[in-house]
C-alpha cells in the first residue's frame, strides 16, 4: 500500500517536472511554423535553424563564448583562493570565501544591478568583455565550492612526504595537488559553464543592448512572435546540461559535490 503510494507520488512529481519539457520537444518537431501540440507533421528543421539562421547562430556562438571564457575566469579566481585557504592558517581570508559565495546567494537582480551601475559609472557599459567578468564573479561560487571540497579531500600525509623529500610549494602543487584536484577543477568549470550558458538577467543588464546571448534572444523573440526554434533551443540546452551533469555523475561523486554545495549555503 505504502509502496504504491510512494510510487504514485514519484510518478506525479516526475510528470510535473517533465510536462513542460515534453511539450517543448513536441513543439520543436512541428513541420510548419506553428506552436502546435501534439505536433503536426515531423521535421527536424527547427534544430537546423539554430545553426543556419544568422541570428540564432550568432546568439549561440555568443553564449558559448561567454560561458567558456567566464567559467575559465571564475576558475582563475577560485583556484588560488581555495589553495591559499587550504595551505595557510589565515582566518580573516575566509571573508573572501564569503564574498565569493554572496553573489550566488542573494537574489540575482541585486548583483545584476550592482554591476550595471558599476559598468555605467566606469564607462565600460555595453562592452562584451564586461559580461565575461560579470558572469565570472556571479558564478565564482561554483568552482570555489567544488575546489574547497577537492582540497579538503587531499590526504595531507602525501603532501608531507613530498615536502620531506625537499619539494617546494610549486613542485608539490604541480606534481601532487593538481592531479588530485583535477576532477574538482573540471566539475567546477562545468557547473559554471552550464549556468552561464543559461543566465539571463546579469547578461541582459550588462550587455543586453549590444550583444545577444541565446536567453536574451529568446526573450526578445517572445515579444515578436513565437517560433518553434525557441523550443528547439530549449531542448538543445537541456540536452547540453543533462550531458554535462551526466558526465560529472559518471566520473565523479555527484551526491558528495551537492553535499558540499548545500553546506556552503
Amino acid at each position: 500500500m505504502t509502496t504504491i503510494l510512494s510510487r504514485l507520488f514519484f510518478f506525479a512529481v516526475a510528470l510535473f517536472m517533465a510536462l513542460p519539457l515534453i511539450v517543448m520537444v513536441g513543439v520543436s518537431i512541428n513541420e510548419k511554423q506553428t506552436l502546435a501540440f501534439p505536433p503536426q507533421g515531423f521535421s527536424l528543421s527547427w534544430y537546423g535553424e539554430i545553426f543556419t539562421d544568422d541570428g540564432w547562430r550568432n546568439a549561440l556562438f555568443a553564449s558559448l563564448t561567454l560561458a567558456a571564457l567566464s567559467a575559465a575566469l571564475a576558475l582563475l579566481v577560485a583556484l588560488p583562493l581555495a589553495w591559499f585557504l587550504w595551505r595557510r592558517v589565515a582566518p580573516w581570508a575566509n571573508i573572501f570565501q564569503l564574498l565569493g559565495v554572496a553573489p550566488f546567494t542573494l537574489p540575482p537582480v541585486i548583483t545584476a544591478l550592482g554591476l550595471l551601475t558599476f559598468w555605467a559609472t566606469t564607462g565600460f557599459y555595453g562592452q562584451p568583455w564586461t559580461a565575461v567578468v560579470s558572469h565570472a564573479i556571479f558564478f565564482v561560487t561554483l568552482p570555489l565550492v567544488t575546489l574547497s571540497l577537492g582540497f579538503s579531500a587531499i590526504d595531507r600525509s602525501l603532501v608531507e612526504a613530498a615536502a620531506t623529500m625537499g619539494a617546494g610549494d610549486r613542485v608539490i602543487f604541480r606534481t601532487v595537488v593538481l592531479p588530485l584536484i583535477l576532477p574538482y577543477l573540471v566539475s567546477g568549470y562545468a557547473f559554471a559553464f552550464v549556468l552561464s550558458l543559461n543566465e539571463y538577467i546579469v547578461a541582459y543588464m550588462t550587455v543586453g543592448f549590444t550583444m545577444e546571448t541565446l536567453p536574451i534572444k529568446i526573450f526578445n523573440a517572445l515579444r515578436y512572435g513565437y517560433t518553434p526554434t525557441m523550443a528547439s533551443v530549449t531542448v538543445l540546452f537541456l540536452a547540453i546540461a543533462a550531458l554535462v551533469f551526466g558526465l560529472i555523475a559518471r566520473f565523479g561523486d555527484l551526491p558528495k559535490l551537492l553535499g558540499a554545495m548545500a553546506d556552503e549555503r
Binding site: 592558517v89 523550443a231 551537492l258
Partner: protein
C-alpha cells in the same frame, strides 16, 4: 606539509588576484549601487551625485506596499509548496537505489540550470490555448474546449514552484541522506506506519533543516523576475521585476538601486529572524 600562517609578504601572493577581482567587481559595484540609491535623478535618464532620501521615501506609497506585499506572499507560497512536496519526495529519493538517485539528481540539476526565459516559454506554451494542456483535457472530455490559462496568478505560482522545486530537493538532499536510517526503523519496529513514522520521527528530526530550506527557497523565489512578467498580469509583478523595469525601461537608476538595497535588507532581516526562530525552537 602542515597548514601554517603566512610568514613572508610573498606568501600572500596567491591571494592578490582573487581578492582584487572580488573587491573590484563585487564589493565596489555593491557600494556603487548603494551610493546611486542616494543620487538624484535628472531628466533624460541620467543621475548626478547627491545625498537625498527621496528614492527611499517613494517606498511609502500604496503601490509600492502592494508590490512588496505581493512579492513576499508569493515567495512564501512558493517556498511552502516546494517544501511540502520536496521534503517527502527527497526523503523517498534518499531511500532509493543509488542509480535512481543519480538519475534524478542529473535531471533536477539540468532543469535547475535551465534558463528562466526557457522555463517561462515552456510554461506559457503548456498553458496556452493552441498548444496547451487544455487541448488534452478537451480531448478527454473534461473541458468543453481548449482555453488559455495565462496570464494568471495560478500560472505564475505553478511555474515558480516548478523552477524552485529542483532547488528545494537539492538543498534538502544532503541532510536527508545523512539522516540516520535507524531512527525510522526504530519507529517502525515499535509499530508506527511508514507515514506516521515520517511525520513523527523524520519531520521533527529535520525541523531546523526544514526551516533553513524554507528560507533558502523563499530567497530563491524572491529573485524570480521573468516568470511573473511572462505568465502574469502587471498586478502579479514582483519587486525583482519592478527593479529591472525601473533600471532598464524607466531609466530611473537611483530608484531601482534604492529598491535593490531594500531587497537586500529584507532578505537579510528574514534570514536573521528565521535563524533566531530556529534556534529558539531548538532550545525549547
Amino acid at each position: 606539509m602542515r597548514r601554517e600562517p603566512p610568514q613572508r609578504l610573498a606568501d600572500y601572493g596567491p591571494l592578490v588576484f582573487p581578492a582584487g577581482m572580488l573587491i573590484v567587481f563585487f564589493v565596489i559595484p555593491f557600494a556603487t549601487m548603494i551610493a546611486v540609491s542616494f543620487f538624484e535623478r535628472q531628466q533624460g535618464g541620467f543621475y548626478q551625485p547627491a545625498f537625498v532620501w527621496e528614492n527611499y521615501a517613494r517606498f511609502i506609497s500604496l503601490f509600492f506596499g502592494k508590490v512588496l506585499g505581493f512579492s513576499l506572499v508569493l515567495a512564501m507560497a512558493v517556498a511552502a509548496a516546494c517544501v511540502a512536496i520536496g521534503v517527502p519526495f527527497t526523503y523517498l529519493l534518499s531511500r532509493s537505489v543509488r542509480n535512481v538517485q543519480i538519475l534524478w539528481l542529473v535531471a533536477l540539476l539540468s532543469i535547475l540550470s535551465l534558463s528562466e526565459v526557457m522555463i517561462g516559454f515552456a510554461w506559457s506554451t503548456l498553458l496556452s490555448r493552441t498548444a496547451g494542456i487544455t487541448n488534452l483535457f478537451a480531448y478527454l472530455g473534461l473541458m468543453a474546449g481548449p482555453q488559455a490559462l495565462t496570464p494568471s496568478f495560478g500560472a505564475v505560482m505553478t511555474a515558480m514552484t516548478y523552477q524552485a522545486l529542483p532547488y528545494t530537493v537539492l538543498v534538502l538532499y544532503p541532510a536527508l541522506v545523512r539522516l540516520d536510517p535507524t531512527l525510522t526503523e526504530a519507529a517502525r519496529t515499535l509499530g508506527a506506519s511508514p507515514i506516521r513514522a515520517f511525520f513523527t520521527v523524520v519531520v521533527p528530526a529535520l525541523r531546523n533543516t526544514i526551516v533553513a530550506t524554507l528560507i533558502m527557497v523563499f530567497i530563491f523565489a524572491l529573485g524570480s523576475y521573468l516568470l511573473p512578467q511572462l505568465l502574469g498580469r502587471p498586478q502579479h509583478w514582483t519587486l525583482s521585476v519592478l527593479i529591472t523595469d525601473q533600471a532598464i525601461y524607466q531609466s530611473n537608476m537611483p530608484f531601482a538601486a534604492a529598491m535593490a538595497v531594500f531587497l537586500v535588507l529584507v532578505s537579510l532581516a528574514l534570514v536573521g529572524l528565521a535563524v533566531y526562530a530556529g534556534r529558539r525552537r531548538e532550545a525549547a
